[in-house]
C-alpha cells in the first residue's frame, strides 16, 4: 500500500494477544516482561519461540498420527464375537454399506484434515524459516484455514464416546474404546496447539526486511 503504513513492530508498539490493545513496547515489568495495561496479559511483539514450538508440536503430531491410524479405536463385542475397528476400517465399512456421505465425513475429519493441517503447517514453517517472499497473502489465508478446520477432527473422538455410552446391551452388543482413540485425541490436541503457536506475522516480517 502507501508509505504511511507501518507495522506495530517498526513503530516499537506491541499489540496484545488477548485484548488487542496497542501499547508502547517499553512498559517493562519487574521480570523483564511487558504487561498489557488493560487486560494484564504478558505482551510479546511476536509469539515467543513460535517456530521451534510449532515444529516440536507438528513433529509430535506426525508421530501420534501413525498409532492413531494403525491401532484400533473401538472394540465391538457381539454375542461373544469381538471385532476391533481402526479409523480406516470404519470408513471402509461405511462405503461397503452404501453410506458414503458418512464415510466422507469420517474420512475428511479424521484422516484428511489432520494430515493436511500438518503438511500446511510444515510448509508454512519452512517458508518462514527460509524467508520466502512467495504470496504472503495466500499463505496467511492458508494459515487461517488451518486454524479453523482443526476442531472438526474431534468428530471421531465424540463418535467413540457416544458409542461407548450407548452400546451397553450386555451379551448382545458392547462397545469399548481402544488405545488408538488416545493417540487420535493426541493428534487433534497437538495440531490445535501447533496452529495456535504459529505466528502468521512472521510470514510478513520476511517481506518487510527485503523492502528496506
Amino acid at each position: 500500500m502507501k508509505e504511511e503504513f507501518a507495522t506495530a513492530l517498526e513503530k516499537s508498539l506491541v499489540s496484545c494477544h488477548s485484548c488487542h490493545l496497542v501499547s508502547k513496547a517499553t512498559a517493562i515489568h519487574g521480570k523483564g516482561e511487558m504487561i498489557c495495561p488493560r487486560c494484564g496479559s504478558v505482551l510479546h511483539q511476536r509469539k515467543p519461540r513460535s517456530l521451534s514450538r510449532t515444529w516440536a508440536l507438528v513433529i509430535a503430531a506426525f508421530i501420534f498420527y501413525i498409532p492413531a491410524n494403525v491401532l484400533p479405536i473401538t472394540k465391538v463385542t457381539s454375542l461373544g464375537h469381538a471385532q476391533s475397528d481402526t479409523i480406516i476400517s470404519g470408513v471402509i465399512y461405511f462405503i461397503q454399506t452404501g453410506m458414503w456421505p458418512i464415510a466422507l465425513i469420517i474420512f475428511t475429519a479424521s484422516i484428511f484434515v489432520p494430515l493436511a493441517k500438518l503438511l500446511i503447517l510444515s510448509f508454512l514453517l519452512i517458508s518462514v524459516d527460509r524467508k520466502w517472499q512467495w504470496r504472503p497473502r495466500d499463505r496467511t489465508r492458508l494459515y487461517r484455514i488451518t486454524e479453523a478446520i482443526g476442531r472438526w477432527s474431534m468428530t471421531d473422538v465424540y463418535v467413540v464416546t457416544i458409542l461407548v455410552a450407548l452400546v451397553r446391551l450386555g451379551a448382545l452388543a458392547n462397545v469399548e474404546a481402544e488405545p488408538g482413540a488416545i493417540f487420535f485425541a493426541a493428534v487433534v490436541v497437538t495440531t490445535m496447539f501447533a496452529a495456535m503457536s504459529f505466528d502468521p506475522r512472521l510470514i510478513w516480517d520476511a517481506m518487510e526486511t527485503d523492502h528496506e
Binding site: L13, C19, R38, P136, T140, L166, I182, A185, I203
Partner: protein
C-alpha cells in the same frame, strides 16, 4: 462519538487508526485480508440475551435423557455425561477428560463467564472479581469449546447404530441442537473491543 481506535492487524501486524464503523460493515486488513473489526448492532444486549438462552438450554441438555438405545426388550438410557464416565471407567482417562472439557465444562464456563461479565455491564456496573482475567480466560478457552463438532459426532453415531438397534433421541438432544446455534449467535454478536472498552472505562 468515539475516538479512532489504534489497532494492529493480528495476522500481519500492520497498524491502523480505525474510525467508528458504520452499520453492518467490516474492516479488513488491506495487506493480508484478515478481519480487523466488525460492526455489531446492540452487541451487549444481544449477547446477553443469547447467553441467558444458552444457559437454560445447557441445563436442559445435561439434565434430561440424551439418547436411548432399544433392541427388543433391552433399553440403554444415556445422558450427555454417560460417555465421559464410561470412557473414564474403561481406563481412557485422557480421552474422557478431553471430551468432558470440550463438550461440557468449557461451554459451561464460557456461558457462565459471559453472564458474569455482561449482566453488571448492562446496568453500568463493573463485575467485582477480576473481570479482565475472566474475559481473558473465556477468550482463551473459546477454541476448545466444541459442541458443534459433538453434534456431528451424534449424527454419525446415530447413522452407525441405525442398523444395530433403534436409537431414540431424548429432549436433551433437541436442546443441545438448538444450543449450538445459540452459542454461535452469542459468539457472533459479541464485540470483544466493546467489552474491553467498558471494562476499562469503569475501572
Amino acid at each position: 462519538m468515539k475516538a479512532p481506535l489504534t489497532i494492529a492487524c493480528h495476522e500481519c501486524d500492520l497498524l491502523y487508526e480505525l474510525p467508528p464503523l458504520p452499520e453492518r460493515s467490516v474492516a479488513k486488513c488491506c495487506r493480508c485480508g484478515a478481519v480487523l473489526q466488525r460492526h455489531k448492532r446492540d452487541s451487549l444486549d444481544r449477547t446477553l440475551a443469547w447467553t441467558i438462552a444458552g444457559l437454560i438450554l445447557f441445563v436442559v441438555a445435561n439434565a434430561f435423557p440424551f439418547l436411548d438405545l432399544k433392541k427388543g426388550d433391552l433399553v440403554r438410557q444415556t445422558t450427555l455425561i454417560t460417555g465421559v464416565m464410561e470412557l473414564y471407567q474403561q481406563g481412557m482417562r485422557s480421552v474422557a477428560v478431553l471430551v468432558f472439557l470440550t463438550s461440557i465444562l468449557f461451554p459451561a464456563v464460557q456461558l457462565a463467564g459471559l453472564l458474569y461479565l455482561l449482566l453488571p455491564l448492562k446496568v453500568k456496573l463493573l463485575p467485582w472479581w477480576k473481570p479482565a482475567s475472566v474475559f481473558r480466560f473465556i477468550q482463551r478457552i473459546h477454541p476448545w469449546a466444541m459442541m458443534e463438532v459433538f453434534m456431528v459426532g451424534i449424527l454419525v453415531s446415530m447413522v452407525k447404530l441405525g442398523k444395530l438397534a433403534k436409537v431414540v433421541p431424548g429432549i436433551a438432544i433437541y436442546s443441545f441442537a438448538i444450543l449450538i446455534f445459540v452459542l454461535a449467535a452469542a459468539a457472533s454478536s459479541m464485540d470483544p473491543h466493546l467489552i474491553w472498552d467498558r471494562l476499562e472505562i469503569d475501572r
